[in-house]
């Protein structure tokens, strides 16, 4: 390319370097983005809502079946009264296969109890971004595990399992993970 042509092209590139779409385009696009996002949320709710509702139903059903609170030794893990704790989400939830994570659970020095938790299973797909949430420890029938795709033997469907339900800031269940206690 000749120097002259290079110069002329550079002049044009420099003259137009700051050329951009007018702000109205951004306004229109953001409006469209909001409306499409809202539509997607509604569509997700239509698909995942019944599943979430079924899990919530199971939560309440299992809570109402409970006998009056008896003296408990390990209050921290008994779900007769659900334990609510504020948490910060480390990262967006991804629907991956469960990989057990060991966590120290009991403060009791004589019996060492470890929690094995699965990954979070999103109750909305794709999982919306979440900054803060609440973790609700509950007891559920094992059928709830089947609802998120985990294999459960027929005869164990009515067994009680522990789970952590992640509630979003708006109070809707976003994800669930299952907990198993291992006493050593």
């Amino acid at each position: 390319m000749s120097e002259d042509l290079r110069y002329l092209l550079r002049s044009l590139a420099e003259a137009d370097a700051s050329a951009e779409a007018p702000p109205e385009v951004e306004v229109r696009l953001r409006k469209k983005f909001r409306s499409l996002t809202l539509r997607r949320v509604w569509r997700r709710t239509a698909v995942w809502g019944p599943i979430a509702a079924a899990i919530i139903g199971l939560i309440f059903a299992s809570a109402s079946r409970k006998p009056p609170a008896a003296p408990v030794k390990e209050a921290a893990h008994d779900a007769l009264s659900p334990v609510v704790s504020k948490i910060e989400m480390p990262s967006p939830i991804s629907p991956t296969a469960p990989t057990p994570v060991r966590r120290p659970a009991s403060a009791n020095p004589t019996t060492r109890q470890a929690e094995i938790v699965t990954e979070f299973f999103p109750l909305m797909d794709p999982a919306p971004p979440i900054g803060r949430g609440q973790l609700l420890r509950v007891e559920l029938p094992a059928a709830a595990m089947q609802m998120v795709g985990l294999p459960v033997h027929e005869e164990h469907l009515s067994d009680v399992v522990h789970a952590d339900v992640l509630l979003g800031e708006e109070g809707l269940p976003r994800a669930i993970r299952f907990v198993k206690f291992e006493i050593k």
């Binding site: 390319m1 042509l5 137009d16 779409a21 229109r28 696009l29 983005f33 909001r34 794709p126």
Partner: protein, 202 residues
């Protein structure tokens, strides 16, 4: 209840974080419904898309429409982006290119090529051109190139795309980009020769 100040700080922090994120990270967040991510991505890339459309069509109205259509396509079909096939900007240029071609074909059907080619006539070359006029003249000369050569010149010489990036956008081998670019530059030089002589560059 968080204070308004807290919310402002949080929003500010989110914006700062978004500025440092890669296009791919922003796109992933955008697809999860994050409007801040979309806005950051839009502000980062819209200029290049707008200029590409402007240089290809020489119409501000078209450039605006095409920019809007490109980002609308990103909102609706952003999941189609495959980072193994090129950068997000190449992906956006590709969408813009398809839109531009549709417009050009429509325009050519409405207006004979000769009318468009007439934009760079001998009379124009004889005008006493200032720098601003020079720029306008080069713009006209570029838009009078056949679209195949025009897009190679616009991408490589005005938007500084590499041959590889241009090849990804134009969906052709790098060698083809080189040859189109050389041919486009030669045609451009021919169109500008009289202007260069007149203004004493040669």
């Amino acid at each position: 209840m968080p204070s308004a100040e807290f919310l402002t700080d949080a929003a500010q922090r989110r914006r700062t974080e978004a500025m440092n994120e890669s296009d791919e990270e922003l796109l992933a967040r955008m697809l999860r419904g994050d409007e801040h991510a979309f806005t950051t991505l839009y502000r980062r890339q819209q200029g290049a898309i707008y200029r590409f459309a402007l240089h290809m069509t020489r119409s501000i109205a078209f450039a605006e429409d095409i920019t809007q259509e490109v980002f609308l396509a990103l909102i609706e079909h952003g999941r189609r982006f495959d980072s193994s096939r090129g950068t997000l900007l190449s992906f956006l240029f590709g969408i813009a290119r398809n839109r531009v071609w549709r417009r050009i074909e429509k325009e050519y059907r409405m207006e004979p090529f000769a009318t468009i080619a007439k934009e760079v006539s001998d009379e124009d070359l004889l005008h006493d051109l200032t720098r601003r006029e020079t720029v306008e003249y080069v713009r006209q000369a570029i838009v009078s190139l056949p679209p195949t050569y025009r897009e190679a010149v616009v991408l490589c010489d005005l938007e500084n795309a590499t041959y590889e990036e241009a090849a990804a956008v134009l969906e052709c081998p790098v060698g083809t980009v080189r040859s189109r670019l050389n041919r486009g530059r030669a045609m451009l030089a021919q169109k500008l020769t009289r202007y260069l002589v007149r203004t004493g560059y040669e």
